[in-house]
C-alpha cells in the first residue's frame, strides 16, 4: 500500500453521517436477504418434494414472503444505500439535511415491517391476518389492509429519498452552474425519475382501489385495471433493481479490473434509454390477458425489444472497460487478456459471473418479450428461471460482490476473508446455473410456476431435457447451494463488522477513457428526457387504460371479493365511494371515442 493511497480518505472519513445511513440501508437489505433465503430454501425443497416441512397451503405464504423480502426489501434497501453513497461521493458534498435522510430510511423500514408482519401472520392461524397474494397481489384475491398500507409507506419513503438526492444535487448545481453532472449522480437522478413515473401507477392502484377495497369502502375492483396498473410499475421496477448493478458495473468494476470506464457518454445514453423505455412496456406481462387488444400488445412488444438496446450496449462498454484494465496489466492476444484479471478478488469475480448470467438471462428475456411465443412459456417455471438470472443473479450477486468492495469504504473495516468471499460468489454462480437451467427446462415441459405441488394426478409431463424428476433434483441442489452461499456471505460480513477499524483502505475511482467532455450537453438535460418519457408513457398507456375502464368499468364488471384473510366489519362504509365511479367510467368512454 503506497503512502499516497494511505493519505486518501475513505468515504466514511469524509462523510461519516452519510456512511452511517449507507450501512443502515445495507444491513436492512441483508436482513431481508436472510429472511428471503430461508423462505427460498423452504420453497425449493417443498416444490421439488425433497422435504415438505410445511403444509402446501402455507407454501403461498412462503412464496409471498420470499418474493416481497427479496425484490422489494433486499434490492431497494441496497439501492438507497448505494445511491446515497454514489451521490454524496460523486458530488463530493454531504446531503442537505441528514434528519430528512433518516426520515425516509425510517419510513421505508416501518413500511416494510408492516407489510412483513401482514405476510408472516399468514403462518399463525389464530391471527386473522394474511397477505398470501404473492408479490403481484392480483385482485380479486385480497390481502389484509396492513399489507397495502405498508407498501404505500415504503414507497413514500423512497419518494422522499429521491427528493433528498435531487435537493442535494440542486444545491451542488447552484455552486457549479457550468459543470457536467457527475456520472454517478446522473445515474441516480435518471433512475429515480424513472421510479417516480413507475410508482405513480402502483400508488394509484393501491390508494384508489386496493386499500379502500380491503377496508371495505368499495365493494369490488376491476381486476384487469389493477393488474395493468401493477405491470405499469412491475416492469420498470425490474430496471430499478438492475440500475444499482449497472452503476457498479460502469463505475466500480473497471476500477477493480485495473482499468477505467471505456465511455462515459455511452453510459449516459444507456441510462437515458432506460428512463425513456422502461415504463411503456408493461403490457408485455399481459400478452395472454383477455380484454386487451392485440394492437396494444404489439406496441408494447416493439418498445420492449428496443429496451434490449441499452443492455446490449452495456455488455460491450463494460467488457471493453474490463479488457482495457487487463491490457494495462500486460494482457495480450485476442482472448489471452482474460487471464490478466483479478479473478481472486470476490468483488471482481462476483460481478463478472453476475454479468455472464445476465447475458444468459438476456436470451430468456428475449423470449419473454416476443409476443406470440409467450404461449410457450407464459406462467411456466421458465419465467422464474429467467428472473433468477436477472434480479436473482445479475442484481443480487453484483450487490454481494459490490459489498466486498464498498463495505471497507463505508466502515474502514477490511473484509474478513476474501477466500470465503470468492468461494461464496462462485458457489452462487454454480447453484444458480443448476437451478435456473432446470427451471427453464421444466418450463418448456409445461411445469407451472407459483405452485406448491407441481406434480398432478391426471397426467405426466413429457420426457425431455432429462425429465421432470431429474430436473427437480437439479433445482433442489441448486437452491441448497444458493442458501449456503447466502449464509457464507452474511457470515463473512458479520465477521467483517467485528474487525477493527484501520486506515488506508481508500480506493478512489478513476476517470473514464472517454470522459464526460465527449458527451453531448443535451444528455444532461433531464427536463427534456422526463418530458419525452412522460409522452411515451401516455402514448403507451392512455388508450389501453381507457379501453379497460370502458370495458369493465372503473370498479370492474361485477367481480367479487376473495380475501385471503378474514375481513373486519367495515360494511357500513361500503357504498360511500360508489357514486364517484360512474362519472369516471363515462369520462373514459368518451376519451376512447374521441381518440378513435
Amino acid at each position: 500500500m503506497s503512502t499516497a493511497l494511505e493519505a486518501e480518505q475513505t468515504f466514511v472519513d469524509k462523510f461519516p453521517d452519510e456512511a452511517r445511513v449507507v450501512r443502515a440501508a445495507f444491513l436492512s437489505a441483508f436482513f431481508a436477504l436472510f429472511l428471503g433465503a430461508i423462505f427460498g430454501i423452504i420453497q425449493t425443497l417443498h416444490r421439488t418434494d425433497v422435504a415438505r416441512i410445511i403444509p402446501s397451503t402455507d407454501y403461498y405464504t412462503v412464496l409471498t414472503a420470499h418474493g416481497v423480502f427479496m425484490v422489494i426489501s433486499f434490492t431497494i434497501f441496497f439501492l438507497v444505500g448505494l445511491f446515497t453513497w454514489a451521490l454524496t461521493r460523486s458530488l463530493d458534498r454531504p446531503l442537505i439535511n441528514i434528519k430528512i435522510t433518516w426520515t425516509w430510511y425510517g419510513l421505508m423500514a416501518v413500511g416494510m415491517t408492516l407489510t412483513g408482519i401482514s405476510i408472516l401472520a399468514g403462518f399463525v392461524d389464530s391471527i386473522d391476518m394474511s397477505a398470501d397474494v404473492l408479490f403481484t397481489f392480483y385482485a380479486p384475491l385480497q390481502a389484509h389492509p396492513l399489507f397495502y398500507t405498508g407498501l404505500v409507506v415504503f414507497i413514500v419513503g423512497t419518494w422522499i429519498a429521491g427528493a433528498d438526492w435531487f435537493r442535494t444535487f440542486l444545491a451542488w448545481r447552484s455552486d457549479h452552474p457550468d459543470q457536467r453532472i457527475p456520472l454517478q449522480t446522473f445515474m441516480v437522478l435518471t433512475t429515480m425519475t424513472m421510479w417516480y413515473i413507475a410508482t405513480s401507477a402502483v400508488a394509484a392502484s393501491v390508494l384508489l382501489f386496493l386499500l379502500p377495497w380491503s377496508l371495505g369502502l368499495i365493494d369490488q375492483v376491476n381486476p384487469t385495471l389493477t393488474r395493468t396498473l401493477f405491470w405499469f410499475f412491475g416492469h420498470p421496477v425490474v430496471y430499478f433493481w438492475l440500475m444499482p448493478a449497472y452503476m457498479l458495473w460502469y463505475t466500480v468494476l473497471p476500477k477493480i479490473a485495473g482499468g477505467r470506464l471505456f465511455s462515459d457518454p455511452l453510459a449516459r445514453v444507456v441510462f437515458v434509454l432506460f428512463l425513456l423505455l422502461s415504463t411503456p412496456v408493461g403490457i408485455h406481462h399481459q400478452y395472454l390477458d383477455p380484454g386487451i387488444a392485440e394492437g396494444f400488445k404489439f406496441i408494447s412488444m416493439t418498445n420492449t425489444m428496443f429496451l434490449l438496446l441499452p443492455s446490449l450496449l452495456t455488455a460491450f462498454t463494460v467488457v471493453a472497460s474490463v479488457e482495457y484494465g487487463a491490457r494495462q496489466n500486460g494482457g495480450t492476444g485476442l482472448l489471452g487478456w482474460l487471464t490478466n484479471l483479478p479473478w481472486r478478488k470476490p468483488e471482481f469475480t462476483g460481478m463478472m459471473l453476475a454479468g455472464l448470467m445476465f447475458a444468459a438471462g438476456g436470451f430468456s428475456g428475449m423470449v419473454n418479450a416476443g409476443m406470440n411465443i409467450n404461449y410457450l412459456i407464459h406462467n411456466t417455471l421458465w419465467v422464474p428461471g429467467h428472473f433468477h438470472l436477472t434480479v436473482g443473479t445479475a442484481v443480487a450477486l453484483t450487490m454481494m460482490a459490490g459489498t466486498y468492495w464498498i463495505w471497507p469504504q463505508i466502515s474502514n473495516k477490511p473484509i474478513f476473508s476474501s477466500q470465503i468471499g470468492l468461494f461464496q460468489v462462485v458457489l452462487w454462480f454454480i447453484g444458480m446455473a443448476l437451478m435456473s437451467n432446470a427451471m427453464h427446462a421444466q418450463g418448456l415441459l409445461g411445469v407451472p410456476r407459483r405452485t406448491a405441488e407441481p406434480e398432478y394426478s391426471g397426467f405426466d409431463y413429457p420426457t425431455m431435457f432429462g425429465g421432470f424428476e431429474e430436473l427437480n433434483v437439479q433445482i433442489a441442489i441448486g437452491g441448497t447451494l444458493l442458501f449456503v452461499s447466502t449464509i457464507l456471505f452474511l457470515g463473512n460480513l458479520a465477521l467483517t463488522m467485528g474487525n477493527p477499524r484501520v486506515s488506508g483502505l481508500a480506493e478512489p475511482l478513476p476517470s473514464p477513457v472517454s470522459g464526460s467532455e465527449d458527451a453531448p450537453q443535451v444528455l444532461d438535460n433531464l427536463r427534456l428526457w422526463v418530458s419525452i418519457a412522460v409522452v411515451l408513457v401516455v402514448l403507451a398507456y392512455a388508450l389501453p387504460i381507457a379501453a379497460i375502464i370502458q370495458r369493465g368499468g372503473l370498479l370492474g364488471p361485477g367481480v367479487g371479493t376473495y380475501p385471503v384473510w378474514v375481513a373486519p366489519v367495515f360494511d357500513a362504509l361500503a357504498d360511500a365511494a360508489t357514486p364517484l365511479v360512474g362519472a369516471v367510467t363515462d369520462a373514459s368512454a368518451s376519451l376512447v371515442e374521441v381518440v378513435r
Binding site: 383477455p290 425489444m305 370492474g556
Partner: protein, 169 residues
C-alpha cells in the same frame, strides 16, 4: 460524440437483432397465423354465470363442419367440463372464463395457454391433430388450493366423439 468503431458495429448488430426479433414475431402472426388472446369477447357477469347461456352448462358444441366451441368455467379449484372432449382433426374455439378469481389455463406441453380473468372471456382457437390426452393446469396462483387445480383435454377420434354423444351436447 466519440464512439469507438467497434462499438458502432455492435450498435448496428444490436439494432439488426432487435428488428429480426420483431420480424420473427410478425412472421409467426402472418405466416403460421398465431393470434393473441385479446378483447374479442364481451365482458360477462362472473357472479351470474349460472344464468349465462354459454357458461351455465360448460360443454363442447359443434357449430359447423369440423368446427367446435368449448365453453369452460374455471373456479377455485377446478375446471368444468373435465375432461374437455373434442374430436381430432378439427377446429376448436375455447371460451374460458372464471367464476371467482384470476386463474390460468394451460394445456400442458402445447401452445394453448391463457390467463382467465373474472368478468372477461378468453377466446382461443386451436386446431387439433391426432387423438391425444393432455393435462390442463391452472398456472396462475388462485388461492390456498391452487396446486390441486387441474383438468384434462381429450382429443378423440371422430367416431368416438360421436359415440360419446352426451359430452358434446
Amino acid at each position: 460524440m466519440h464512439i469507438h468503431a467497434y462499438e458502432k458495429l455492435w450498435l448496428a448488430l444490436s439494432i439488426v437483432l432487435i428488428l429480426a426479433l420483431i420480424g420473427t414475431v410478425t412472421y409467426g402472426a402472418v405466416g403460421p397465423g398465431v393470434a393473441m388472446v385479446a378483447d374479442t369477447q364481451q365482458t360477462v357477469d362472473s357472479g351470474a354465470l349460472d344464468e349465462d347461456e354459454r357458461f351455465s352448462e360448460p360443454r363442447v358444441e359443434q357449430v359447423g363442419e369440423n368446427e367446435y366451441e368449448a365453453y369452460v368455467v374455471a373456479y377455485q379449484f377446478a375446471f368444468e367440463p373435465s375432461p374437455i372432449v373434442v374430436p381430432a382433426n378439427s377446429t376448436v374455439t375455447l371460451h374460458v372464463t372464471s367464476r371467482d378469481v384470476i386463474h390460468g389455463f394451460e394445456v400442458v406441453g402445447t401452445n394453448a395457454n391463457t390467463m382467465i380473468v373474472p368478468g372477461e372471456v378468453s377466446e382461443i382457437t386451436v386446431e387439433t391433430d391426432e387423438p391425444a390426452e393432455y393435462g390442463i393446469v391452472c398456472n396462475e396462483y388462485c388461492g390456498a388450493g391452487h396446486h390441486v387445480m387441474e383438468g384434462k383435454l381429450h382429443v378423440v377420434s371422430q367416431s368416438e366423439f360421436e359415440n360419446r354423444g352426451g359430452d358434446s351436447a
